[in-house]
């Protein structure tokens, strides 16, 4: 433990700015993945254990589109849309068949999806690691803020994630579709009786959750290595985020993701040997004290 250094960092503007930005950088991609997970759980009541797959697919689709076109915008769109489409197919043909079945059935369908997709990615893209590369527009020196440094791409990435989060929140709370989706989470039969195609809506919501994961993957592709199976560690971390924030709560996912990000950022300064343990400990603590998470509505 290194509390003096930690205190010193918090007291120094440059260190504080850099580490807070680090927390956001680490946290915001997690937030995107976790919010998709949370959305799906909140509305459909299923845990998408295959969520990491869509993060991976988003990254690989973006990589392929960038290789083909050289356009970063197209790469982002390809990552998001590709993951969403695969998500809809997965929901329609597989996941929807185990709704209302026990948890283990859902777990196994997702496990199968992970195995199949990891292998398919290996067959199509090869086993070696890939990197998309930084688009020209972001090949600039890091921006200096109060003596701390923040890379331009990360400012863009955090901005994108926050923007998507805001649009998601507004969409769910302010639009008619969002209101229908929230109603769907509570009473699907009633929503159907009001003339709304609930099956289509389920597929759409599942696809939307996958779009969020895919966007995160596409945003990560310029800075993180692409390998078959890359979704796993992200899946585990986003699970921790979802559990801490509250399953089904998107603001909860945001709070928890930032919390985890800051824990990692300042943990690296203060408790360098225990940052990972800290995450699990936090999750354990939340589960024991408040099983439904910080902002979760459902009682456990």
């Amino acid at each position: 433990m290194n509390l003096d250094v930690l205190a010193g960092c918090v007291a120094t503007a440059s260190c504080f700015v850099t580490q807070v930005s680090t927390g956001l950088i680490v946290g915001m991609l997690l937030f995107l993945v976790a919010s998709g997970l949370s959305l799906i759980f909140g509305v459909l009541g299923v845990v998408n254990f295959a969520h990491g797959v869509f993060y991976m697919l988003g990254a690989y689709f973006a990589f392929a589109a960038y290789e083909a076109t050289g356009s970063f915008v197209l790469a982002l769109l390809a990552g998001a849309a590709g993951a969403g489409l695969v998500g809809i197919v997965f929901e329609r043909f597989f996941m929807s068949r185990v709704y209302g079945k026990d948890l283990l059935m859902q777990l196994l369908v997702c496990y199968a999806a992970i195995l199949i997709c990891d292998d398919l990615v290996k067959i199509v893209f090869g086993a070696d690691y890939k990197l998309m590369g930084m688009p020209e527009a972001f090949a600039t020196a890091p921006v200096e803020v109060l003596g701390g440094f923040i890379p331009g791409y990360y400012i863009f990435m955090v901005g994108m994630a926050l923007g998507i989060g805001a649009v998601l929140w507004l969409g769910i709370n302010r639009t008619r579709l969002g209101k229908i989706i929230r109603a769907l989470a509570i009473n699907p039969q009633m929503v159907g009786a009001l003339g709304i195609n609930t099956r289509l809506l389920y597929a759409g919501v599942f696809g939307m959750g996958c779009v969020l994961a895919g966007t995160a993957g596409a945003l990560a592709a310029p800075v993180r290595t692409l390998t078959p199976g890359m979704g796993l560690s992200v899946l585990i971390e986003s699970f921790i985020v979802t559990v801490i924030g509250g399953m089904g709560s998107i603001p909860g996912a945001l709070v928890a993701a930032i919390l985890i990000g800051l824990t990692r950022a300042f943990g690296a300064i203060g408790f360098p040997l225990f940052t990972d343990g800290l995450m699990f400990a936090l999750m354990g603590l939340v589960l024991i004290l408040r099983p439904s998470g910080l902002l979760g509505a459902r009682t456990a």
């Binding site: 950088i25 086993a127 690691y129 990197l131 390998t227 078959p228 199976g229 690296a268 360098p272």
Partner: protein, 419 residues
Amino acid sequence: MSNGANVTGRRVLLGGAAAGAAMLAMPRIAGAQAKVIRVGMPTILSGRVAILGTSSRAAVQYAFGRINEAGGLGGRTLQLVERDSKGRPDEAAKVTRDLINNDGCEIIIDGEASSGGFAVHEVVRDLPVLCIHTNSETSSLTADPKLHVKTAFRCARQGIHDAVAGGVYASGISKQRGLKRWMTCSPDYAYGRDNTAEFLEFAKMYDPAIEVVDQVWPRLFAPDYTENITKALQVKPQAMYSALWGGDLVSFIEQSNLYRLFPNVALFSSSLGDPPVLTAIKQLPAGLHTAYRYNRNYPEKPANTAFADGFTALAKHEPTNWAWQNYVAAQFIAEALKRTNGRTEGAALAAELKGMQISSGLAVEEKLTLRDTDHTLIGYPTAWGRTVPKAPFVEDFAPIPWSQILEMETQWKKQKGYA
């Protein structure tokens, strides 16, 4: 344990294998009469480090292909049977047993990473066929006499050799440029910690002015290193050592680039000099220091270039460090089989391999040696070089003489109680 008993044991096993092959409905021909010598390879062919297995497999296939095209060994051909352990040591133990007991493999090339390597090592203790470890760099596997297995060899770099070489090279640079404040960033598992500790031990020994101001230990296969990079920005070291490897190292360097870390900090990396890593990094900063892993231009010999071309044609990518190690292992096996006239008993092959020397384009000088005392490879390139942004990516290889490495290794063994 007499050799005779071992041989009888083998016969029983093989007889069993023949009977069992019928039972398990797998029409495989086993036994010494077969025209084909089957060589089994447990390795990792799925998941994040699948390239370890795929490039190991391609290298052996390339080597066997060349041997078989040239008429095989006295009319007998070599065949590789590989199995995926998925990176799980218990699975590695199981598939190794299966390869021997079930598929009639008479020789094992252990293409596992370290943890699986130790598991395979224990299987070979039980079922004494010839085994060559090709990917485990953990020193104790062969250096620790308590772990010694008579028919097991290592044809791979060894941690302690690299540590000495790294220490010699890094201390030279640090003295020259006055790099006193060091930081490390290595993956948090046994290899990462051992490798880092050994590197620092020798670097400090050669340059006592070196001071380690901080150490960070990201998780193995972590997707993001930003908190470690920004920590380095706070600590402001002059030099940094990293034992990160593979895709993790690629992520780490690209993410560091965003912060413009390396113009200000001299990076010393144990694993950067591997072609897949170098080619995956889109913006490779110039002047990073890296240990040699593999390079088509070093050692500068036609045989090395031919290997690089041949392997690339088969595998569709440049050779990896794992590739040359497996290629060399296949060559050692072929040579040993030649000398035994095709006898595949573990003890007979081991007797030949002890101290065997072969001429190789991959040797830093003329020959590669499987040292008889501890069954491990020496004479391979242990150089350090500096990166350049375009192919060949690493230049100015500075070899570290083997005499110096061997001297330090002896001292290290004494200190560890290994010798």
